[in-house]
């Protein structure tokens, strides 16, 4: 199966490329990239005035399967991902059961084999049942193919347990992804602590609950000399702490989510539960710091933290509503609208955050359009605008904070493993 993509602006920072050229895909791989390619192909795509970039690699996705198929399934999430230009996802292990042992990895792998429409990589749990007590058998998890370990949704509170996990992860050459939150400091909060929690009459989630735990996680990672990745950072102090740690040569990477640079805490004032996530939307100065961190390279990656929830769990009193928002179908466009269009990142910079760096952090051979690379490609109309509509989501859940927003950047084609997996 040959696909010829003609006249697109190819943005491929892994090969230091940003120019109009043609790409030939053959047998699942990139066969050629050149100024002009003329050959017979089963499918020819005219990409004039479009961006052609490596498929997005979203390293923070809650597929909800196994266990909560009412919220989302591997099938619906990966279809939604493709519509968002995402060709690879990292599945978070906080399912029911948690992905904390070889058997459960096998179970998830069997579902993926049957239903996944793009590449699904697996993160295993750090501790058994994500209880923060007993470190999982990391060697066995590694053998089953997990790429990283995380108790996402919770932090491993006990220093000694986390340190042991870091040492085990190092032995198994597995990345630890930290959900950095001290729940004794964020206890029962629903929105950012400060004027927002005060105005709304809700308990607040302090910045300290995040950055103090970021500090600890980095300190213990250093002690174990095991690289760590900090998930979904939202506040200025976290950015600053990571910036300093990296200057000292500590191996720490991090990601943020689109809502942390596209929305500030004011979005939640109307008690819209689609604006409720953890960490919460922060102050404008935090939004600025996140953007700055993206611009200067402190923040390596953008990941959706796609967290689907049913209407039953969202259309209730604000305090009782679940934390989390969906993001697969909007993350690319939100990033284009908020970062490229506003001059925070150029296209190459954006592709690094969405594809090159996640591949590097996870150690997967993707994120490149070089000859011989996997043909995971997304073709985007960069200037085209669209309005996010609730009933247009492919995701099973509809809890998006961007409903009603007009965004720039439309995914026209997603080529995954050498096949056109999505086209508009």
């Amino acid at each position: 199966m040959k696909i010829l993509i003609k006249n697109g602006r190819v943005v491929d920072p892994a090969n230091n490329l940003d120019k109009v050229c043609d790409i030939l895909v053959d047998n699942g791989k990139i066969a050629r990239v050149a100024a002009k390619i003329d050959c017979a192909a089963e499918s020819v795509i005219d990409a004039k005035d479009k961006i052609v970039m490596p498929g997005i690699i979203d390293m923070h996705v809650h597929l909800r399967e196994p266990g909560r198929e009412d919220k989302e399934t591997v099938l619906t999430a990966t279809e939604a991902a493709l519509a968002g230009g995402i060709t690879s996802v990292l599945a978070m292990p906080n399912t029911t059961p948690a992905i904390d042992c070889a058997e459960n990895v096998k179970l998830l792998k069997s579902i993926i084999k049957k239903d996944a429409r793009n590449f699904v990589f697996i993160a295993g749990a750090i501790t058994r049942a994500r209880q923060g007590e007993e470190v999982t058998d990391t060697a066995k998890l590694k053998k089953e193919g997990v790429l990283a370990l995380t108790d996402d949704g919770s932090s491993v509170d006990k220093d000694e347990v986390f340190l042991e996990a870091l040492r085990e992860a190092k032995k198994s050459k597995l990345l630890i992804i930290c959900h950095s939150e001290d729940k004794t400091l964020s206890a029962d909060g629903a929105v950012n602590l400060g004027i927002t929690s005060t105005r709304m009459g809700l308990r607040g989630i302090s910045r300290e609950s995040e950055y103090k735990r970021v500090e600890r996680d980095i300190a213990l990672a250093r002690e174990a000399s095991c690289p760590v990745h900090i998930a979904h950072i939202s506040c200025k102090e976290s950015v600053e702490i990571i910036r300093r740690a990296r200057k000292k040569g500590i191996k720490v990477t991090c990601e943020t989510a689109p809502h942390y640079f596209a929305l500030n805490e004011e979005a939640v004032l109307g008690f819209d539960t689609n604006m409720k996530m953890n960490p919460p939307l922060r102050a404008q100065e935090d939004v600025q710091a996140i953007k700055q961190g993206l611009a200067d390279g402190t923040i390596d990656a953008i990941a959706s933290d796609h967290a689907p929830h049913t209407e039953n769990e969202k259309d209730i009193e604000f305090e009782r509503a679940q934390f989390g928002v969906i993001g697969l179908e909007t993350e690319g466009a939100v990033a284009i609208t908020e970062l490229v269009d506003k001059g925070i990142l150029d296209w190459k910079g954006l592709v690094r955050k969405l594809s090159v760096n996640p591949a590097k952090i996870l150690g997967i051979n993707k994120g490149s359009l070089g000859k011989g690379s996997d043909a995971d490609i997304v073709i985007i109309s960069p200037q085209k605008k669209w309005t996010v509509q609730r009933d247009k989501f492919l995701s099973k859940s509809k809890n998006s904070p961007f409903i009603g927003r007009t965004l720039k950047g439309v995914v026209e084609y997603t080529i995954c493993g050498g096949k056109v997996a999505f086209s508009r």
Binding site: L193, T196, T198, R199, G201
Partner: protein
């Protein structure tokens, strides 16, 4: 004068100065009704008002009930003890069921901040917030402001101090929005642990010194200390609180002679207010109760009109 356009009253934060003034002037015209021999006008005849109360409340519910009845509305009271809420029905479903009865106004009291806003978004009929969590209690603040204006003739330029558990008080929040929009200078006074973070950004001055709060005040609004909410977090003891923050005759002697003393009730005598002050000549506590009827009549009347316009 502007016209009322809203079908709901969720909070004073959302309202403009003009809208607040419209409620107050409407209340003025309704106040006289309660002084008549026949205390009834047909303004809401044929309308149904449902008091949907998820928290125990006597004074607010009764006040709304009296207000609705003086407007000739039919009133139904639903409290959690007798409703299907206990069977797990969601707030939205309950609201839609009430709407399906062709009721016109839901007056909601709920322990969760934002509950009134959520209900208002999900039904077409009017929703009046009778207190949601720690968020807002707009009709209480409106009756406080109404009483103050009646006593002192104006709001603009007044120094008003609010004393008590500001952090957990919806009365404080609604008063702050209402008073500051009308041009009063608001001071909040509480032990530091009961001052919520960032409250200065709502345009108030913060102090933990009661004498400081009383010194320049034209009025003091004393909040009920809600010891039943005590979550074990650095909450002061009752007697300790009275010594440090209780409004007493001695303390008032250092304040302006004609300072207006308000309290939303119910009173904790000897905790946040001494009996002498509560029953003294500066106190307008019972006038607040009377004015509550007029203010709630005005609110019910206006939201019903607002809905008819939609």
């Amino acid at each position: 004068m502007i016209k009322w356009q809203r079908k709901d009253l969720v909070g004073l934060e959302d309202l403009s100065k003009e809208e607040i003034e419209l409620i107050l002037s409407t209340a003025e015209s309704f106040k006289e009704v309660s002084a008549r021999a026949i205390k009834k006008v047909p303004a809401l005849r044929g309308k149904t008002v449902v008091n949907l109360f998820y928290e125990p409340s006597t004074r607010t519910r009764v006040s709304f009930e009296v207000a609705a009845k003086r407007l000739s509305a039919d009133v139904i009271n639903i409290s959690t003890e007798t409703s299907s809420v206990k069977k797990g029905e969601t707030l939205i479903d309950t609201g839609k069921n009430i709407q399906a009865l062709n009721a016109d106004i839901i007056v909601i009291r709920h322990n969760s901040s934002g509950a009134a806003a959520m209900l208002a978004r999900n039904v077409d009929i009017s929703v009046v917030n009778a207190g949601d969590g720690w968020h807002e209690h707009p009709t209480q603040a409106l009756l406080d402001i109404f009483t103050l204006k009646e006593k002192l003739g104006r709001i603009k330029g007044l120094n008003v101090s609010i004393v008590g558990d500001i952090a957990h008080s919806r009365v404080a929040r609604s008063n702050i929005w209402g008073l500051t929009k009308l041009g009063a200078k608001v001071t909040v006074c509480a032990p530091k642990v009961l001052i919520p973070p960032g409250i200065e950004e709502m345009g108030v001055v913060v102090t933990d010194n009661i004498d400081e709060a009383l010194k320049k005040a034209d009025a003091v609004n004393i909040l009920r200390m809600q010891f039943e909410r005590d979550e074990g977090t650095a909450f002061p003891e009752q007697l300790e609180y009275f010594k440090a923050f209780g409004v007493t005759r001695e303390r008032l002697q250092k304040a302006k002679k004609d300072i207006v003393v308000m309290h939303p009730g119910p009173l904790n005598r000897g905790v946040e207010i001494s009996s002498e002050v509560a029953d003294g000549t500066n106190s307008v506590i019972l006038e607040q109760v009377t004015n509550g009827i007029a203010v709630r009549m005005a609110v019910l009347f206006l939201v019903a009109q607002g809905r008819d316009k939609k």
